[in-house]
Amino acid sequence: MNSQAFGRILSADIHECFAACRISEPDLPPFGSLVRIPIRETPRLEVYGLVSDIRIEEDGFLRQIASNENVSEEVMQDARVNRNVPIVMRILFTGSISDDGISHMVPPHPPLTLNAIYRCGEEEIATFSSCGGYGYLRHILDARDISIPELLAAHVAQALIANKNCGNPEWGKNLLAELIQQKRAQKDELLRMLNALKSLDFESTAEAK
């Protein structure tokens, strides 16, 4: 479990939240990562979510730099690294953890603004993704305004490695079976997802490096 927060909540509802983080943050989670947002310590409640979008917005000054030919490399680097406008991440909630354990339902209430966000480690990813019979998949499959196949592929790529390394090599195949059962009535959608997943190694049971 990472102890270093990489960002804080800007806004949230029961399904998702937006968070801001600095570009200089050394451990920014990539697209599809599982993150954890603690809401309170007692009784324990922490929300799990997937990074479903990452946006780097302009701050007005960037336009001038980008359109000016005579900008030194030093100024350019300063504008890229030490910029004031943060990176905004969209986080799709996929469950929560309480004293009762992990749940794949939406959190009972959304996190508050400026709550810290932590990136989950391999063990936490494996624990969250392997419990509850893939119930959290529905949040991904029902998400709006998101490229579901891409989010799914990005998440599965990470979770596949985490589960293999944590001694659960069949996780990937079972996920495929669950996904197919849930989406087989929508053949086109299912095939788009499978196409997005097809470059991943579902067969190997060896631990990923």
Binding site: K173, L176, Q181, R184, K198, F202, E203
Partner: protein, 560 residues
Amino acid sequence: MNTTPETIGYVIGGSLKEGLFARLTVPSDQVQEGAFVVVEHNNVNYYGLVVDIRLTASDPQFAQEMNENRLPQAMAGILNQHTLFTELEIMPVLMQNIGSGETLTDEQESKPVNTHPLPVKMLPPHHSFVRQATSFDVKEVFNTREEDAFVIGSTREQGHPIHLDLAKLTKRSSGIFGATGTGKSYLTRMILAGIINNNKSAVLLFDMHDEYAFGDTSSDTGKSVPGLKNKFGQRVKVCALGSSTTIQGNQPDFNLVFEYSDITTADIEMLMRELNLRETTPTTLAALENSFKQNWFETFKNMNEFGDDDERSVAYWAKNTGVNQMAAEGLHQKLKKLFQKDYLVSRTAKNPVNEIIDALKNKRSVILSFAKYETDLDYLMVTNLLTRKIRQEWEQMTTNYNRNKSNPGSKDAVEPVPLVIALEEAHKLLNREMADQTAFSIIAREMRKYYVTLLIIDQRPSKIYDEVMSQLGTRICGWLGDENDISAVLSGLSGRDSLRGMLARLQPTEEVLMVGFGVPMPIPIRSRRYDEKFWKELLKQNSLTEVEKRKSNDILFRLD
């Protein structure tokens, strides 16, 4: 050993009319059409047959495209597993309360279940598990009294022995059908051997092609196979048609000839088509009978064909009795075919018909070989003559028995020996035109109460009169190609539409479908081979106790 047979699927729908539908959970090539399956729910087992196997998909497009070509193998495999399905259509036939839902232990398995399978009246609910029948299920369903149990074959998948209940088989008329070359006559030999060995009924077999008494050469192995006489000795009497006739060089027990006085005018009327007789024939025959009583045939035979004024001429007799001369002369001309038959004689020293009847009455079986008399005319004439006399005899015996059975001391208070008349090429005697004129249709319809039943053997069941077919209790049928023949075999049976395909897709040899009264449920089986091993096992049964018999039946058969 605990019985935990593998589940092959689960129920997904159905009705009593349409049968059950189940989704297969094992590869489609692990279950065959006709498989004996059991659907389990709580304490009730539903026994049925797989009557159709259907490949289906959650979306037809999944089936139409080769997913392996565009997805990795593992992924395509999982996709296929969850989108492509095999469905079974099961015809539920029997249900049985098995008493306990618990897995049976060795001890429990060996104890008989106290409830019997009954015709299905309920359906198992959705998602009840389906499995292949075990030997225990087969025993439960095809449970017969030890003394009447005869192993006729085995289930096709697991090779569990199937018992035919000989008592039930012989209680009503039965039929053995199959296209030529399907092993019909070998199957008939085995069943007749079982009946004779059972020693509760006598068999009269009309052997048109001389193949049952002294053996034959197997067409597929080229080996000689024994006949019934070879194996049963004096329990089987061989009778050859015509005096001094031998059968494949073997001397028969006796030769069959008929006295002229045995022939009635009705016997001739039955031959209308065969002898190409005219519409005036019945009138002429009636006049002959009226004039000469039971000597009509011999007297008519001895009349001169020509000479109006000759007192011994046909014309003279016709004129004096008011019969049309042309009609009488025409009949005389056409009956010459019969007058020339040397198995029709004026007098016999010892009436062989009575010898046959006496043998049958004493529970001896009789094989009547036609030897050189191979024409349809011989077959029709002889079978009808003999059967008519037997029918009269058995009717008389039954009447006497019924009158005197309350008086055990009376010599007539003896129950008649049940008689099975086995008839090859049955359509020649039981076709639509002939059926009503011969004794056979009456036997099929009415003689059960007089202890006589038919075992008809034929390759064209559609040629047999519907009314006779409908009377057949048990039908054992090999492969048939003709739709009409298939329909005829299944006529009057419930679930015939489901069984139709099964019959059409039997293996050309050594597979038969058994349906009807003699079997608790329709079942396709792999029939036994008719060879020395069969005989060894069958005759060995005689020296075993009843309990040993069943064990031996099961164990020896598995060695096949």
